[in-house]
């Protein structure tokens, strides 16, 4: 059942100070933006959603993904993809091996796996890049590989942690459109955190602060 990502009365506090307070449902294919300055709790929210919240924070509430309560599941069991601010491509693996790392083990056979990897690269306009060293790619290429690596893992939701902030203006527009397209195409509920109003405006959709208040730009 594709029901989207439901953040149910989630409250995160640190030493009594509430950083995040959200009650929010993100439909499949929808992108919601959480906007706020550095230190406002945006990244803390993402850590909570992937199940990697540091012990110094107190959390209440639940996270439901496609109707299933994932609040107590481990990071890897949640099947929530995360695109970081800096790409986190593994430097010891080739581009293709990075993608294969993410491909679920249910895709069996070397041929079938490599075919999926090649298809993903083709989709990203990186046909023939499978054997390349990630360190030799441009910033834009790395961003696309990162997204494809996240998507090839077949996540049920996508979190975007300011993934465009380090790209130059031209690449930024292009990569942003690329990400939004893929999110809609795959009907993924997505949450973008950013401090950049242009990013928030460009992806469309609702814009909130970490305390759940609507922001109009």
């Amino acid at each position: 059942m594709k029901d989207g990502l439901h953040i149910l009365e989630l409250e995160i506090a640190q030493r009594g100070r509430v950083l995040v307070s959200l009650d929010l449902k993100i439909a499949p294919g929808e992108i919601v933006t959480i906007m706020g300055p550095s230190g406002s709790g945006k990244s803390t929210l993402l850590s909570a959603l992937i199940g990697a919240l540091a012990p110094e924070f107190e959390m209440r509430g639940h996270v439901l993904l496609n109707g299933i309560d994932i609040t107590d599941l481990s990071t890897r069991q949640r099947r929530i993809g995360l695109l970081f601010q800096d790409d986190t491509l593994f430097p010891h693996l080739s581009v293709g091996a990075n993608l294969a790392f993410a491909l679920p083990p249910t895709v069996r056979g070397k041929g079938a796996r490599m075919a999926r990897v090649e298809r993903a690269l083709l989709d990203a306009g990186l046909d023939g890049f499978s054997g390349r060293d990630p360190a030799t790619l441009s910033g834009g290429q790395r961003a696309r590989v990162s997204l494809m690596r996240t998507l090839i893992a077949e996540p049920n939701a996508l979190l975007l942690d300011e993934p465009f902030s380090k790209l130059d203006a031209d690449r930024r527009t292009h990569i942003r459109a690329f990400v939004v397209d893929r999110v809609r195409q795959r009907a993924l509920p997505a949450l973008l955190v950013t401090h950049d109003a242009e990013d928030a405006r460009a992806v469309g959709g609702r814009i909130l602060d970490p305390l759940g208040r609507e922001i109009s730009l």
């Binding site: 992937i50 990697a52 012990p55 481990s74 990071t75 890897r76 949640r78 099947r79 929530i80 993809g81 995360l82 970081f84 800096d86 986190t88 593994f90 430097p91 010891h92 790392f101 993410a102 679920p104 060293d133 990630p134 360190a135 030799t136 690596r149 996240t150 893992a153 996540p155």
Partner: protein, 566 residues
Amino acid sequence: MNRGRPLRFAPLLTILLLIGPVGAGVLGTLAPAFGYLPALGGVSVTLDPWRDLMAWQGLWPAAWLSISTGIGATVISLIISTLIVAAWQGTRVFAFVMRALSPLLSVPHAAAAFGLAFLIAPSGWISRALSPHITGWERPPDILITQDPMGLSMMAALVVKEVPFLLLMTMAALGQTDSLRMRMSAQVLGYGRVWGWLLAVFPRVYPQIRLPIYAVLAYSMSVVDVALILGPTRPPTLSVQVLTWMSDPDLSLRFQAAAGAVLQLGLVLAALFAWRSAERVVARLGCGIAMRGHRGAGGDAASRGVALSLAMICAGAVLFGLGALTVWSFAGLWQFPDLLPQQLSLRVWMAQSGNLAAATKDTVIIGVAATGIALLLVIACLEAEYRHGLRTSGRALLLLYIPLIVPQVAFLPGLSIFAILTGVDGGIAAVIMAHAVFVLPYVFLSLADPWRAWDQRLGLAAQTLGAGAERVLWGVRLPMLLRPVLTAAAVGFAVSVGQYLPTLLIGAGRIETLTTEAVALASGGNRRLIGMYALLQMVTPLAAFTVAILVPSLIYRNRRGLSVSV
């Protein structure tokens, strides 16, 4: 991450491996020191071993030798290493000095001591280079240079080995202090480079290198192999005398040996206490000097010259020593004062090939196994720290240093008695475990920083892609950290190759490694044989370091993101 619950027990297991043998060994030494060792007929507690010890005429000179050479070598090593960093940190010369001194870390103490002996002996290379033109010597002069009564040559060998160690420890500590900016601040205020560094940076660095300094002090005071090669003989140092009594066919001397070992432990603890007190005095003096505002700008050029010369002397002593060992091992007829042998020969190598191969094989087996055990435990501890959010406290770090601070000669005799009682003595497995006790701290110190510096977001990224804790470890973290892991393994292997006393005592003299063989040859004076064994002793750890450099370079030759700076 909550997977890998058995990992939670890794720190406890590691602490047991470190503390268990030391504790058991000290107890096993204390009991016979007070007459209790039923296996040898000692069934009552008595002070007789102490009376016998006190009755030995050489006791106080031997004890004084341990104190003077130990403290002397530590003070000199600390001064030289500090001066080098203060004078040259952040310059190209400094990078060159570090490159020249770092390989010396892998050279076992015994091999460095032999190399130095071959240089400074009356018939050594230095004497040959100056004879007969400058000295007028046609025959080796009859002067006591090595095995001098004050232990100066022994101290020199300790210094050339400890300077690189302290330098490396200082560099690691500097990474955690804002040293360059601190020094610049002092220089902006008109302080000289060296003086400014000593007043502004050294007080911050010292607390972080305190434990390594204590390890150097304890080691230098109680070292056995270097003392057997270069130390005085009548009397020898206290630790050598303890070993002599331990190895005597007259088993009743074991009681006296145990009392001597306990005395050695007491001396080391007293010296550590005195050093700690001296730290406070020096700190107070330093504050007073800093308050006076003397800029010390005039001494920079001289300090830099002295520091560089001392660094080069340390590096040169080991490197030329290595050269001397090599030449001697291939020497045919080599008369004094010829600088080089008249002919080279493979005769000794051929004649000894069987023994050499056997000793090398055992050295490598013990080294690889001990390093493997240590590496496994260290990785398990660091991974437990990461997965369970554990933190290494200062007290835990002290535990790590215990096998390095408690003198080997104070607990290995006791441990060997335990080994005999439990029937595991003389076996290679017992020697491997004993080596692991000394290898583990170095592997931990070498690997902990790069392990902790690894970008944890990569682990998180892997988890969001569906990877479990084990896959993150084996598929991402370990491959990325291959270079530091192999370097730590090479450090551990080098430490194992250099172990003399654990091999001798726990192996009950039946396990022969390159180090035990080389040291055993010291008294015989056959330079060709010594040269050969000591050369292999140097080359074996170097081979491990070569592997540690080459393997990641080959595997990741097409991975720019994993170049050396990573």
